[in-house]
Amino acid sequence: MTDQRLLVELRTHALGLADELSGALRRIVVRSGDTEIEVEWQQPTVRPDAIAAALPAAAPQVAAIAPVAAEPIADLIESVDENLAAIASPMVGTFYRAPSPDAEPYVSVGDLVRKDQPIGVVEAMKLFNPIVAECSGEVVEILVKDAQPVEFGQQLMMVRPTDTDGAR
């Protein structure tokens, strides 16, 4: 592709992202090889990443692993770029990959899952809540360990959708 074509392409993508992404954007970078478009917005309000940057020594340690909320833009861009969908925890609790300690995990990296197929459970108040895939696809990454505490909204797994029904 010529540089000229490429620029038009990048611009289209930048605009498209700005249009489609929700939330207060801070920065969009679209790059291909040496060609790049970067747009940065003025800081309209306090965003989570700004908080993280401003944290003093006695800063909060996020209880579990970095939640989805902490870097929404980066995550979204990544998932758009790589066409991945995240499965997030619908509650605070403890994530388990298998129905019981002795059992095989529901899924492993590389597995193909169907929409609504169980991929793990989150235990909260001694109740086990099944977590299901939101779309059909391939499990490309499992972000939390077995028996790990998770927050509301925390990403558990990344899936590369095989169809478009539930890619987002």
Binding site: V46, V92, P149
Partner: protein, 449 residues
């Protein structure tokens, strides 16, 4: 003492408790909903847990999420703040079941006090004066009618499970009773899930006076003086002050010792408030107990020099009261104004939007409790309290002048953002209020309704 306390609340009160924890060397765990995730309040906690989406019932009222968050972080106690789960005996019980100290009274005491009918019965048995009316819930309209006739009109109908000014109805004449009674029952059933109501004499021009109580687990209880909260709009407090003005020392002594007696008799523990109605002859009547920290606890702190949350944490941890009644010396006068994000031109409807510039007042004897800042986004999900401004002075007029100064320099601006500041300044400038001759009728009068 606790090692780690989870604060099951948001906004200024979560910050208030986090400050106390930090000052006492206790680690704090904050919880937040998605709506609050960008909030700079989160930097005040040592750890934070994202507990749910914006809707209160799925986040700050979500007992399961809060208990799980406490377990995950290894907290040994839960501070409920005010509102949300703070007066829910079931939540207090679940905390205990999960080896967490609930920072508040025992679940059964809280349950008894939350049922106004039980609370009235308990206090009547302890000899506390009640307004003429039905102690127990009314069973039938006929019972309501005969009770109302005996008490004499006007009367007020209240929900047994109510609180915070919700579900009350004033009846001025017998003809209106039946409609009001049935409507009140329906409302109570809808709002509180409990249709029981009771009635008592309605005193239009009374003062709302309350006593701050602090009790430990060893039968010791003290009070931290009185507060007057007569400046209310539809039973929502706007201005609180302490000590209650224009009452004789004898009345103040009587009302405070009555409250302590009542609290100890029912086995109350922790920080709480006994609310009374005081008529123009300084006769006072027990209304209800708030079994939690209150928004206006700051007023008591300013006049006594006692950090109520510090003491609350200590007694909850099983430490005997560190103060005797003689240690509590009320000094000077304090006033609190609630700055809410509300639009007075739209009947005080909550406003939302970006607060572009937020410059709180400062200077001598001026305290501000707020979670807001320049760049804060006031959302539609929770209550509209933006900041509490509290001032102290050696005397009441000095405190009023100082508050007028403080509100005058308070800048809150942003597109569509309106606050109660102009309304508060109208009250402060009111001649009757300055003379402390006001009653709960003051705000309706100023608003012309």
């Amino acid at each position: 003492m606790f090692k780690k306390v989870l604060i099951a609340n948001r906004g200024e009160i979560a910050l208030r408790v986090a400050r106390a924890c930090r000052e006492l060397g206790i680690n704090s765990v904050g919880v937040y909903s998605t709506a609050d995730r960008d909030d700079l309040v989160l930097r005040h906690f040592d750890e934070v847990v994202h507990i749910g989406p914006p809707a209160g019932r799925r986040s700050y009222l979500n007992a399961a999420a809060i208990i799980e968050a406490a377990s995950q972080t290894g907290a040994d106690a839960v501070h409920p703040g005010y509102g949300f789960l703070s007066e829910d005996p079931d939540f207090a019980e679940v905390c205990v079941d999960n080896d967490l100290t609930f920072i508040g009274p025992r679940a059964e005491v809280m349950g008894a006090l939350g049922d106004k009918s039980t609370a009235r019965r308990l206090m009547l048995d302890q000899g506390l004066p009640l307004l003429p009316g039905s102690v127990e819930a009314l069973r039938t309209y006929a019972e309501a009618k005969s009770e109302a006739d005996a008490v004499g009109y006007p009367i007020i109908i209240k929900a047994v499970a109510g609180g915070g000014g919700k579900g009350m109805s004033v009846v001025h004449a017998p003809d209106d009773l039946e409609t009001a009674y049935r409507a009140a029952r329906a409302t109570a059933a809808a709002v509180f899930g409990d249709g029981r109501v009771y009635l008592e004499r309605y005193v239009a021009a009374a003062r709302h006076v309350e006593v701050q109580i602090l009790c430990d687990h060893y039968g010791n209880g003290i009070h931290l003086g009185t507060r007057d909260c007569s400046v209310q709009r539809r039973h929502q407090k706007l201005i609180e002050e302490g000590p209650a003005p224009a009452l004789s020392q004898a009345t103040l002594d009587d009302i405070t010792s009555t409250a302590v007696r009542g609290a100890l008799a029912i086995g109350f523990t922790g920080a709480g408030t006994f609310e009374f109605l005081v008529d123009e002859n300084e006769k006072f009547y027990f209304m209800e107990v708030n079994a939690r920290l209150q928004v206006e606890h700051t007023v008591s702190e300013m006049i006594t020099g006692i950090d109520l949350v510090h003491e609350q944490l200590h007694v909850a941890a099983g430490v005997p009261l560190r103060l005797s009644q003689q240690d509590v010396e009320v000094r000077g006068h304090a006033i609190e104004c609630r700055v809410n994000g509300e639009d007075p031109d739209r009947d005080f409807a909550p406003t939302a939007g970006l607060i572009e510039r937020f410059i709180p007042p400062g200077g001598p004897f001026t305290r501000v409790d707020t979670h807001a800042f320049s760049g804060y986004r006031l959302g539609p999900h929770y209550d509209s309290l933006l900041a509490k401004v509290i001032v102290w002075a050696p005397d009441r007029i000095g405190a009023l002048n100082r508050m007028e100064r403080a509100l005058g320099e308070f800048e809150v601006s942003g597109p569509g953002v309106r606050t109660t500041i102009p309304m508060l300044r109208r009250v402060l400038a009111d001649f009757e209020f300055r003379k402390a001759e006001h009653s709960t009728a003051i705000v309706p009068r100023l608003l012309g309704n």
